[in-house]
Symmetry: C2
Subunit: 309 residues, 2 copies
């Protein structure tokens, strides 16, 4: 599968990606610029995803990396993942307040004490900002929405696959419990097939989100017991703990209740999503096929350039 | 020029863009999702820009929407544009601190008092994060870098062309004063030609950045006197005050000095950039050719689909 990289120790991949110019360190752990070649891989992978989802007749929505603080307050992220959040703060003072802030800045003191919480937060997952836009009754048959967004997780790490800011591509299903379940199961098959066709040694595993603290242990166990989250994992920086490059998630009626979205029968809508971690997919391809996409196996290059199967 | 929209009052364009689904309100002024059709327009416009810049043999770098707070502290943004900044704050406390934050959140109090400034800020302009990556001597002949990034400006507004978060596409030149000047002048011509070829009534004007406060008046005047900033403006939301859809900027040796970048002669590098506001270009096209790209004039559609001239 991976003659070049398989025997490299963990950690080296990051150095090699940087040396090859694919990741450009920006002076903060887990924050990188991307090379044009890496972007091209991501664009081509996205075309494959679009082709795989052509039958969904999804509404395409492209979201910016920030969303409403008031909407953030309607989900449980602050309880479950406080260590990952990104809150945006702004300066709304007058010239006098500005002189004070500038003076603290020049003195090397904490200059942020004058800032106030802005109307926005960084997006923790691509589908969060969508739900508040769909409050009300879904059309008959529900909806499928095709999303892409940068998402933020305050998780400084030297693992190149644990970036603080990266893109997710998602297909979100909103409708009945049955529709959500079918979506999740169908995309688990599709996503696994797509990743395998790109020569990646993908495995599916039941997983849990990184709920915070001791209180999070129960949530993790419950999520696993109910098999709400499946991940498709591939070795990237480490052979021992492979990286999730995609996940297929059932949310039950959590978002339907939180944002008053109702299905055809009047009950709270159920939702499900498949999400691809676009940078992680590109890193997995570099890890398994080498750092020069021109030299990747012909069948992988053909598959990427075709988009459709 | 614009039979459909020309006589509409200011403000209506936003409502029409929302009704057509091109802008999806996310509950905060100036923060929107984008339709698939709008994204397609932006992708095709970017292909035109890429074709216009093919001779530049630019290094392609794609930047995430956040960058280093330490790098932010090495430029004068906090002095010049404090009202526009976006500072990212995170929670790094333990479970006890989390209980306190959760309690304040549940009580409807300010729950952000426990947050601390994270290592990052939102990017105010696409080229800022680039310069710290180029500290040292430039190669002979300098460099041209092709950038795209989301940028943030805390400027809540109902003008659809004044978004808080939007994408800039840039070509940045680093080298001698002469090279920077030539780049700026050449791209002013190219960008104007490209926008005019897309049927936009573009004009070039000397401009200034929105320096803060009374102290900013001198900076504005100086920037105009030296003609450091040219904008290409097109009526978008208002006929009376047209919107800058692109700008061509000379930075002199400001970034070279701030980040120790030296040109071939050993002196601080001069830099210049052309930047396109991608959402603004799309909005200008909707404004002047109508809300359905399928019904745009054939020559505009052809030009967009070709990419190259």
């Amino acid at each position: 599968m991976c003659d070049v990289e398989e025997t490299e120790p963990s950690g080296t991949l990051r150095d090699r990606l940087i040396a090859a110019g694919h990741l450009i360190p920006l002076g903060v752990r887990g924050v990188y610029g991307r090379s044009g070649a890496m972007e091209h891989v991501i664009e081509r992978f996205e075309a494959c995803v679009t082709a795989a989802g052509a039958d969904q007749r999804a509404d395409v929505v492209r979201l910016p990396p920030i969303f409403s603080r008031a909407h953030y307050a309607r989900i449980n992220h602050i309880h479950n993942f406080p260590d990952l959040l990104g809150s945006i703060h702004a300066f709304t003072g007058d010239e006098r307040a500005h002189r004070g802030m500038s003076a603290r800045f020049m003195a090397g003191e904490d200059w942020t004490t004058d800032l106030v919480p802005a109307e926005t937060m960084l997006i923790p997952a691509a589908c969060y900002p969508l739900y508040p836009t769909l409050t009300g009754a879904l059309p008959d048959g529900g909806r499928v929405v095709d999303l892409r967004s940068f998402v933020f997780r305050h998780d400084p790490s030297d693992d190149p696959a644990r970036m603080q800011i990266f893109r997710q591509r998602e297909y979100v299903r909103l409708g009945s419990a049955h529709q959500a379940h079918s979506h999740r199961d169908a995309w688990l098959e599709r996503a696994e097939g797509l990743l395998a066709a790109l020569g990646l040694p993908v495995e599916r595993v039941v997983a849990n989100d990184p709920f915070f603290g001791r209180g999070g242990r129960l949530a993790k166990a419950t999520q696993r017991e109910q098999a709400l989250k499946w991940e498709l994992v591939v070795p990237v920086a480490s052979d021992d703990s492979p990286t999730a490059v995609a996940s297929c998630n059932l949310h039950l009626d959590y978002f339907g209740l939180a944002f008053d979205i109702t299905a055809a029968d009047g009950a709270a809508a159920h939702t499900a999503c498949v999400g691809f971690g676009l940078e992680r997919v590109a890193l997995a391809l570099f890890r398994h096929h080498g750092l020069d996409p021109e030299r990747w196996p012909a069948e992988v290059r053909d598959r990427l350039e075709q988009g459709a199967a």
